[in-house]
Chain length 113, copies 2
Amino acid sequence: MTKEEKRFQEKIKSIQDTMFVIGGKWKIPIILSVYSGNKRFNEISNSIPKITNRVLSKELKHLEENLLITRNVIEDYPVRIEYAVTDYGLGLEEIAKPLESWGKKHKKKIIGK
Amino acid sequence: MTKEEKRFQEKIKSIQDTMFVIGGKWKIPIILSVYSGNKRFNEISNSIPKITNRVLSKELKHLEENLLITRNVIEDYPVRIEYAVTDYGLGLEEIAKPLESWGKKHKKKIIGK
DNA sequence: GATACTTGTATACAAAAGGATACTTAATTA
DNA sequence: TAATTAAGTATCCTTTTGTATACAAGTATC
């Protein structure tokens, strides 16, 4: 394998890693929702059209495991759970922005056919 | 729904549109492969570790339908098929770059724990 | 006292995505 | 003549994702 090819393989690997962590229909929307002020389970759930409890619950766990959000138990009466985006999670902005603007462009392209 | 909320919903929609078109493990790697010089089915297949014929075939169709690549039949003896990235497909660079660099960063973060 | 809200979990099921393997058809090469 | 290449397709199977529904335990409301 040439050096070029090797570099290409690593590029692929990095992209696949990213896709594993934040790919799919829901993960970035969830992070953006939390970032934009929705802290509690039902708030997040209501802010994202069509998401179900089961999926939201699973995705939140996945994001927590990958250090992108935190789950905080607030010892009040009654106990509350609040989610927050970590500093590390904020770094996703650099991905979310291009994804959003590309999506907009693409819709125009497809409609304009 | 406030204006803020509406804008947020549209943001989500755009991101989900993008994910539908270029999400998953294979689509961006395939485009990069073609872009970097692999034109023929088996070339592309060999350049991407672990991809199977079936998946490659499906993904190529999906990408063609979304105007990101073209499939060209070269009338030679024997007939050859060559894939190429469209000008429109080149616009994905703005997404592929951040995905790659985020993946690299993330790997370091996870290893460094 | 009965009912609803919160933050999920549990269960069962359906649909979509991904993977393994074999096969096709025509041409080329050994 | 046999094996190989090219560009996939066909079949079957597993995994992931998504949907629907019910349930829990405590608090709040009617």
